[in-house]
Subunit: 307 residues, 2 copies
């Protein structure tokens, strides 16, 4: 099979399709119909239900590049006959900026000042030297650590494996979660959603946090038991939350989280479509070049782990 | 005159007085009444009107350490017979964090999301690679540049002198202000207030900015012509503003800036009293040690320039 021959489908999202076609060609590939292709660049993250219909008639496709970093909507459709890659890592920089925004806005009481219509009392906490607990030791954490190195924070990384995380003050495994988050100014969720991590922040975890701590979620809404968070925010168990992802998502009108002064919801903008397009295009370009050269691909999906 | 003998006055602000006394003693000094002192650590930034009454009966005082970085309230009382130092530089780190908070919150539309009670459309801009114009090339700018080096911004520093600012993409003098700010995503005021810089951001300067740009002021309220800013924010001349300082300050109830959705007022919290106390204490300790050793002092005030 000629590895230069690459399909980019579906075309339901013209901006992404166009930028992916350009990326394939920049990498030296030729865009062809899927029946002739050695690989598929899947060009619509919202079209997971079209996925098998596109792929099944194309047994020659040996490699599939998925868009986005989280692949929950695709994961039940992966098979072990092909190589799978996704966008993990490429979106890390904007998402790390979101985390920094959320932690600084929380520490500096920006939500309170946004709502103020009169001169307020002084409030604020420095990020420099603050204690942060980060759940997840992947690309987002890497990018966040790089951006914030100058702040000399005390960082605890909580991860599945007990491999020390480079640059962290300490690394702890998930079974010590409550201890790991108990002293943090901010607890940051930057995990993939798996069975193990679903609901990892529940009433007990929130109770383990400091009452002046903030919870920031840029992973998936399902990491947090929403009803428990509502209770914790209402009762001052923690000081506040900033959520870029919610469960349910989108958060419906009238949901109690919309009306808590100590909760800010951003609508899944860790990276926006506008920020993300050039980043996934760069991944496609890099990976097509690697595919043609026979090199290892970036962002491999572990089909068993589902991320 | 024995340089170990240091006065710390007035005692009207007990927390500051106490931490300054401790700092003098840590540096090897002895706290004495002002009549016996070689130097005065002025321990109440709000007591400028008590200043000459304390200092005039003490002709032996050769050096005065002022609190805070901005010394407008003291400047008409300085004389050329003594050495004057202030807190400039020491507050730079928290103030730089405020700037980063304000620029990230603006780029990520945090004020809009704070007010939202339903799922919003995606909005956001990356700081990485953004174009910033910073008015002022002092300690705050130094600290901000250090904190944000990893973001690889395109930074134009606007300053009085035409000395190139280290690390900036370009340095321009104040007489090219309008050109310097015309292409920036954010214009940051980090100046001292002098006659030359009062009202430097007026209707013409605002009109020179991009309509999707943000204005951030952490200098002094008087740098901005408030009425012109109100007009610019109302009419979409610029996208938004975050102000840590205002004119008048405190901003009175009912002022139009309180009711503009694209303006956030933070109540002079670039550094809070809580953040600032250990920082000025560190400056007192360093300078007393230098005074006793006969070394140059940190944070010298230029009496003629008034900062």
């Amino acid at each position: 099979m000629d590895r230069h021959l690459i399909a980019v489908e579906p075309a339901t999202r013209p901006a992404m399709h166009e930028i992916m076609v350009a990326a394939v060609e920049e990498a030296g590939g030729t865009v062809v119909p899927i029946e002739q292709a050695s690989a598929l660049m899947f060009a619509d993250p919202m079209a997971a239900n079209a996925f098998r219909g596109i792929l099944d008639p194309a047994p020659n496709v040996e490699w599939v590049q998925l868009p986005y970093a989280g692949i929950e909507t695709f994961s039940h459709n992966l098979d072990t006959d092909r190589i799978w890659t996704c966008g993990k890592g490429v979106y890390a920089a904007p998402v790390a900026e979101w985390i920094l925004t959320a932690v600084l806005a929380s520490f500096r009481a920006i939500p309170r000042y946004v709502r103020a219509t009169s001169w307020q009392s002084q409030e604020g906490r420095d990020l420099r030297g603050a204690k942060l607990a980060i759940l997840g030791g992947g690309g987002i954490t890497d990018a966040f650590m790089e951006l914030t190195a100058a702040f000399e924070c005390d960082v605890t990384v909580v991860r599945r494996r007990d491999t020390p995380y480079p640059g962290a003050s300490r690394t702890m495994t998930t079974d010590h979660l409550h201890q790991a988050i108990s002293d943090a100014d901010a607890v940051i969720i930057a995990l993939s959603l798996t069975e193990e991590t679903t609901g990892i922040i529940d009433a007990a975890a929130l109770a383990a946090m400091r009452s002046d701590a903030f919870l920031l979620n840029v992973g998936r809404g399902g990491h947090v038991v929403t009803a428990d968070l509502v209770d914790a925010l209402r009762n001052g168990v923690i000081q506040g939350a900033v959520l870029d992802v919610t469960d349910p998502e989108p958060l419906p009108d009238g949901h109690p989280l919309w009306h808590l002064d100590n909760c800010v919801i951003t609508p899944h903008v860790g990276n926006t479509a506008e920020m993300g397009l050039p980043l996934i295009a760069g991944r496609v370009r890099d990976n097509v070049a690697r595919w043609i050269a026979g090199d290892d691909l970036l962002g491999p999906v572990n089909v068993d782990l589902g991320y």
